[in-house]
Symmetry: C2
Subunit: 354 residues, 2 copies
């Protein structure tokens, strides 16, 4: 082994899988019986669920709408009738699904909408089953839910976004618009990451100074800096808005994710602010939008001006229209990345044939 | 085995894979040397290529723009700088790629755009490698072309459309708009198929009477009825427009495909005409559109009114924007097919929590 080989082997051995598994379970009252909010469920009960996933609770914040747990590997948000569980590394997120349904059932609730998603892993062979192949995750979920639909949006042989949904709604549309936007960034600016998200440089001013506090203005913030590096943050507002950030800053597997359910007429400036913090060489944006009955003016299926990221080459832009919502996925890569076209031929003017 | 089991086993043993593998290779002059049209290539040379694919030529028609070969399993269209090869069953289409490139090279041409696509197979385990999994087909093509991108549009665990593209164009846009529309239909009306596409009922008036001649008006038509059943048709016009239809009419694996490169302001009526012939229980429409520099008025990325198929339930509708073109894929299934939602709960009005 050469010195470079050894370095690469070391990097690989210690590589951390930043890209998260993300689950949203939406519930509604099962029958006429009395229902209890999921927020009445004791922390100790959720701790049992999180044990199945191989996560533990680091801290918790709460307001009138949301209880937000910061986890050893990502985040868990509990609403009255909804949970959002996001975990990274080699966690086994889907193992929690049956138990969460059981807990919700005891509250008088039943599942009405299921979302499970993740981008392509950097190190898929490090994952445990069924996470080695999205087909297997789909089979697992199909064993629990009827009528689920699974998609792979983006390139099979490149950046893509895996997505599963099963829904069982009575109403055709929710009252209010709903949205989730994710900005999934890789190959982060190493100088910047070294300054911001390492235990020895992080201070109680770091996240404010670097712009994290501006992403969800007025939010209560719960953050954690890992030793020797790594950063997680939950932000919640009493109006039900949340944001969460998770950062794997180290070379060789650097990755950061930003997610929020904030409803905005235009997400362009928000995405720009997020990119300024991490300065990634590649990123993917996924936006779920449900218009809602009371659609707000200007709220479109993907309220972003995709042309304003001049340092990036836009990859594929895909919009999928489902029954109740639209999913837009757009990938970008730095213009410095090598051209993807194959061996350049000399093409002269179109020949004319007789 | 019960009688029904035996019938099902028989059906399966004799099941034919109607869904086609579809390849388009676009070429341009390689250097300043003189180039020859691909249409100057001898039939015997193409026969060697088609041997690799396990197809033979049944008949041929030609005009000033296109030479159209009707094959034992589907069709082969040759233009001056483009070939379209479409084959069904367990044919080994991709085996032809290196040989076609070699032939084009001898004409002074080089590849500038590659498209390979197919819907999900009904009987994937009957296919030979690499066609058992689209990932393998992608790997094969990635071995030939640099920078290829592969996609799976639609449901991983249901109807979907697999698609591979590698391009190496100098110009950002073609002069003229280009389009390919495919209507891929399954579970066809058995009474209608029995009347139309069986050797013992087919006459020289069948295709005219059932509306096939209206799909590409004014075209020269080359058709073939197989024994005991099955139908193939190529249609070409001197303006460069083509259409092709392939029908597997029999119960248990019924399937029909319609494809054309006709440019239209609105494809809605055309799709309706195609559906009227086959009356399928499910269908998928795939439309590739390249606007072209001289974009014609009203030509949109998917010029179809998707709301006018009242007997069908619209599935997913996905639009992917690539650098030079847009791909729209929409799936439909009959409203008589069982509901896909999972165990219906009783959902009462939203509970309020305190």
């Amino acid at each position: 082994m050469t010195s470079t080989d050894k370095e690469q082997a070391q990097t690989f051995l210690h590589a951390f899988e930043g890209p998260e598994k993300l689950l949203e379970l939406w519930f509604a009252a099962r029958t006429d019986e009395d229902v209890k909010s999921l927020r009445t469920v004791q922390r100790s009960v959720w701790e049992e669920v999180l044990e199945l996933v191989h996560c533990s609770i680091l801290s918790v914040i709460s307001n009138g709408s949301i209880t937000a747990y910061l986890l050893s590997e990502s985040s868990f948000f509990v609403f009255d009738e909804k949970v959002i569980l996001k975990t990274c590394g080699t966690t086994t997120l889907l193992g929690a699904v049956p138990k969460i349904i059981e807990i919700a059932c005891a509250c008088g609730l039943t599942v009405v909408d299921v979302f499970y998603s993740r981008q392509n892993f950097f190190f898929p062979h490090k994952q445990l089953a069924p996470y080695t192949d999205f087909k297997h995750e789909t089979e697992y979920l199909d064993g629990i839910f009827d009528g689920g639909c699974a998609y792979q949006v983006g390139r099979i042989n490149g950046a893509h976004y895996n997505f599963y949904n099963a829904e069982n709604r009575i109403s055709t549309m929710s009252d209010e618009p709903e949205a989730t936007i994710e900005v999934l960034m890789s190959d982060l600016d190493q100088d910047q990451m070294r300054k911001l998200f390492y235990k020895d440089t992080f201070t109680n001013k770091t996240s404010k100074d670097c712009g994290i506090h501006d992403l969800l203005p007025g939010a209560q913030i719960d953050e954690f800096i890992f030793d020797p590096y790594g950063y997680s943050m939950n932000a919640i507002r009493s109006d039900g808005a949340y944001a969460t950030i998770h950062v794997t800053p180290q070379q060789g597997c650097s990755y950061a994710s930003f997610e929020t359910n904030l409803i905005m007429d235009d997400y362009t400036e928000l995405i720009k602010k997020v990119l300024a913090i991490f300065n990634p060489a590649a990123f993917l944006v996924a936006i779920y939008v449900e218009m809602g009955v009371k659609a707000i003016s200007n709220f479109r299926s993907a309220p972003v001006d995709w042309s304003v990221f001049p340092d990036f080459k836009i990859g594929d832009r895909s919009v999928t229209h489902f029954q109740h919502y639209d999913l837009t996925v757009v990938s970008f890569e730095s213009k410095n990345v090598k051209a993807t076209a194959f061996s350049k031929p000399q093409i002269k003017k179109r020949a004319s044939y007789r």
